[in-house]
């Protein structure tokens, strides 16, 4: 009787644990399948042309130069706009108002913005920027991406600032330092690595964002450095080329997809390494 019960319990245990092992294996398998198809289809597209030629009309040779440039410029602009906003808001939450009602509300809204659908952000920027200006522009694209950067940076900078030991602040206060100097010269410095991690993760997040750019930066077949004009960018080019019936366009789309994925994965890994080196990190 007892051995039957034990047997059944052991069998249940075995089944549950095997299933959980299988689930993890399935998750990892999908990751490798995706990376494998990116490498297999993307590597043949890599070549000097990819980085030196602009996007071609169907049937002729070309590369992704204008799209790579556009993606870089808009990502940098978005990061430059979004990071200060995020850090200052994070500072407010961590340094000035940890548990006030305003802080609670901001935290709640920020967590929602963190997961809000990015296509709605694109729609918002279309309504408030593209329509009044009368044309699509790289600036609108950058603003849309910046709105996605802000909540990521708010979250990480608040967390990182909160990890700075109170004794550091108290030591600075005891010397008669005003609070703004304590925050900017002591706390920021102590939390620098962690905040940098947050910014890197934000960059990784927007580098592949497509939806917010569709109605803001749109796309541009040609080389353009005018921020007031529509601008080519990798994600939208991939979208357009992958869904086209032309084999050479699809090939370029795979090349672009490989480029984006490699840069995002390396950004993520660098950010994680940085976080694990950070002095107050977990």
């Amino acid at each position: 009787m007892d051995s039957l019960l034990y047997g059944r319990r052991r069998a249940t245990n075995f089944i549950v644990l095997s299933l959980s092992f299988a689930a993890t294996a399935a998750g990892l398998l999908v990751l490798f399948l995706i990376l494998w198809s990116l490498l297999r289809n993307g590597v043949p597209a890599l070549g000097a042309d990819l980085f030196t030629q602009n996007t071609p009309p169907p049937g002729s040779r070309g590369g992704l130069l204008n799209a790579i440039y556009g993606s870089l410029v808009m990502t940098v602009a978005a990061t430059l706009i979004g990071t200060p906003v995020g850090i200052l808001c994070g500072t407010f939450l961590a340094e000035f108002s940890r548990s006030s009602r305003l802080a609670m509300a901001v935290r709640f809204i920020n967590d929602i913005l963190l997961s809000a659908p990015s296509i709605v952000i694109g729609l918002f920027v279309y309504v408030v920027m593209v329509v009044p200006m009368g044309h699509f522009s790289a600036w609108a694209g950058s603003v849309a991406l910046a709105i996605i950067v802000v909540p990521v940076v708010v979250r990480t900078s608040e967390n990182m600032l909160s990890l700075v030991p109170a004794s550091l602040r108290e030591a600075a206060f005891a010397l008669g330092t005003p609070q703004w100097k304590v925050v900017t010269m002591v706390v920021y410095r102590a939390a620098l690595q962690g905040m940098l991690t947050g910014v890197l993760l934000a960059v990784a997040r927007i580098a592949g964002e497509t939806a917010p750019l569709l109605f803001t930066a749109l796309n541009n077949q040609f080389w353009s450095t005018d921020m007031n004009n529509s601008m080519a960018n990798l994600p939208v080019v991939i979208f357009q080329f992958a869904l086209s019936p032309y084999a050479d366009w699809q090939q370029l789309a795979w090349g672009g997809a490989l480029l984006i994925t490699l840069s995002i994965l390396s950004l993520n890994i660098v950010a994680r390494l940085l976080a694990s080196w950070s002095s107050f990190g977990k």
């Binding site: 052991r10 689930a23 993890t24 929602i112 592949g208």
Partner: protein, 309 residues
């Protein structure tokens, strides 16, 4: 001295200003979308939500097929992803050798780092043909033959459609649910866990009787968070859903979602009513995700304050 105090006041005011800015951002998104969708609601009234016709030529628009597609793909994605995510979380907290915990956890989280567009291109060229030749014929041949229920799996295996979109969505939300569940599982006090093991419970029994009851609220929060992500997911779905404004019983048939409709049609929309209807779709999507994400964050917050006590 006075200058320093001024610096303090100024710095505090500036950071507070940016905190307000984040608050206002959400309000501004809702207000601008609401303003943009006025023409559509004026023309169609609340019937916009329940009308099935989407005809740009005749200028009549109804949101029902897109809302239906959004809800059904997210629902199926959750059905597929939740058990898998729990499996991953259980593996990472209970089964995995400590040395491998970090690397495997990181790899699963990298699934979340891969952008939507990459899932899209992979879904279109790799997953859809794969499902078309394997899973879909099998489903049609087995479940599709059952009366009534079989209607869910009727029709030819097209590859592109509701089911393929749901599978992609499931993969995309898996890491979110898994990492929240793992974090929640780790908040279970070691004392409780060890006591159960000390009484001779198996790992499966500890999971069922200790870990799950203790972390129920957090788990639901994690699932809602995943749902919020799935509802608004755009590019991956746009590639594989087939983009048809129809409601079909079969999960193998092409459909559309709110986000896919926006991605496909917005830049080509001509006429005020067409654009406005699309913005109204965006508003509906935003309101739905807002509700889901608020609930999710409320539950995770309750979970957080519970183990602080």
């Amino acid at each position: 001295m006075r200058r320093q105090r001024l610096g303090d006041t100024l710095f505090r005011a500036v950071t507070r200003g940016f905190a307000f800015f984040v608050l206002l951002l959400l309000g501004a998104v809702i207000a601008s979308l609401a303003a943009g969708s006025i023409p559509a609601f004026r023309a169609f009234g609340l019937g916009f939500l329940f009308s099935e016709s989407w005809n740009p030529v005749k200028d009549t628009f109804g949101a029902l097929p897109a809302i239906y597609g959004t809800l059904i793909t997210s629902f199926i994605a959750m059905v597929l992803a939740v058990p898998l995510a729990f499996g991953v979380a259980i593996f990472l907290t209970e089964l995995c050798p400590p040395l491998l915990r970090r690397p495997i956890g990181t790899l699963i989280e990298l699934l979340a780092a891969i952008p939507s567009i990459i899932y899209g291109i992979w879904g279109l060229f790799v997953l859809a043909p794969m499902l078309q030749s394997t899973l879909q014929p099998a489903l049609i041949g087995s479940l599709g033959q059952i009366p009534f229920f079989g209607a869910l799996f009727a029709g030819p295996p097209l590859g592109l459609g509701i089911l393929t979109a749901s599978v992609i969505l499931a993969v995309m939300v898996l890491p979110f649910i898994a990492s929240v569940s793992r974090d929640v599982f780790l908040t279970v006090p070691v004392l409780l866990r060890e006591s159960a093991y000390g009484m001779g419970a198996t790992t499966a029994e500890v999971i069922r009787n200790i870990i799950i009851p203790h972390s129920r609220v957090g788990i639901v929060g994690g699932v809602m968070l995943g749902l919020g992500r799935a509802l608004g997911e755009t590019m991956a779905v746009t590639f594989v859903i087939g983009n048809a404004h129809r409601i079909k019983a079969s999960l193998l048939a092409p459909g559309t979602t709110i986000s896919a409709t926006l991605a496909n049609e917005f830049t080509e929309a001509v006429g005020k009513l067409y654009t406005s209807s699309l913005i109204a779709l965006g508003l509906i999507l935003f309101v739905i995700t807002l509700i889901v994400l608020s609930l999710a964050n409320y539950m995770l917050w309750r979970m957080g304050s519970q183990d602080g006590a």
